[in-house]
């Protein structure tokens, strides 16, 4: 009964490939996020969805395309993978009426591009 679950946990792939990461939350939250954590542990927001609507879209290459089929799911598709895409990608969610900044994180998906 994991609250925020991401799959896969590990991804190893070649440059130029396309890959997807899936995220699901069973907390009843209405806002979901994708964060990228680099090798120095720096966390950067990529996207945020509120009730399936895109509300934050940071300066991210358009090779990255999020998709939210419903408010419990937020997937991330990456086209034409590059070496610099290697990172840990975290999905998170927040509840309606909760303190802004209170996030619930998945365990991360470690992407390695060779």
């Amino acid at each position: 009964d994991t609250a925020v679950s991401q799959t896969p946990k590990y991804l190893v792939t070649q440059m130029g490939n396309d890959k997807s990461i899936k995220c699901e939350q069973n907390l009843g939250h209405d806002t979901m996020y994708w964060y990228k954590q680099d090798s120095k542990k720096f966390l950067k927001i990529m996207f945020s969805y509120n009730n399936k609507e895109l509300i934050i879209n940071e300066t991210v290459p358009n090779r990255f395309s999020p998709k939210s089929p419903d408010k419990a799911h937020l997937n991330l598709h990456i086209n034409s993978l590059e070496l610099g895409d290697s990172a840990v990608y975290f999905c998170a969610s927040s509840r309606p009426g909760g303190a802004t900044g209170e996030l619930f994180f998945g365990e991360g998906s470690r992407l390695t591009v060779l």
Partner: protein, 115 residues
């Protein structure tokens, strides 16, 4: 604009001694502030939050933090470190209070515990 600065990238303490992880914030208004912990190969977990109620906030695992407006600080402390406290710690401030507000993470402090 809101920002947080974590003053130490790495802190090392002996087991059983106090822990101090420092965070300064910059804000044009009284902010909400958070500390998150990330254990190796895990996701981030909320440790504690300050939302303009009591300035001394208690969190999980014996951690606490004090909001000091005069010093623009929100330092994280624990009286006695345990080996299981070894992790990365992030100080966090939201840029605003709407669902479109960005959550700003500090650069992180790695806490090591010596036996």
């Amino acid at each position: 604009a809101q920002s947080v600065t974590q003053l130490d990238s790495h802190v090392s303490v002996s087991e059983g001694t106090p822990v101090l992880l420092r965070c300064n914030y910059s804000s044009s208004y009284s902010p909400s502030l958070f500390w998150y912990v990330q254990h190796p190969n895990k996701g981030l977990q909320l440790l504690l939050k300050y939302t303009s109620a009591a300035t001394l906030v208690k969190g999980i695992n014996g951690f606490e933090a004090e909001f000091k407006k005069s010093e623009t600080s929100f330092h994280l402390t624990k009286p006695s470190a345990h080996m299981s406290d070894a992790a990365e710690y992030f100080c966090v401030v939201p840029s605003g209070y709407s669902s479109a507000s960005k959550i700003i993470f500090g650069s992180g402090t790695r806490l090591s515990i010596r036996p």
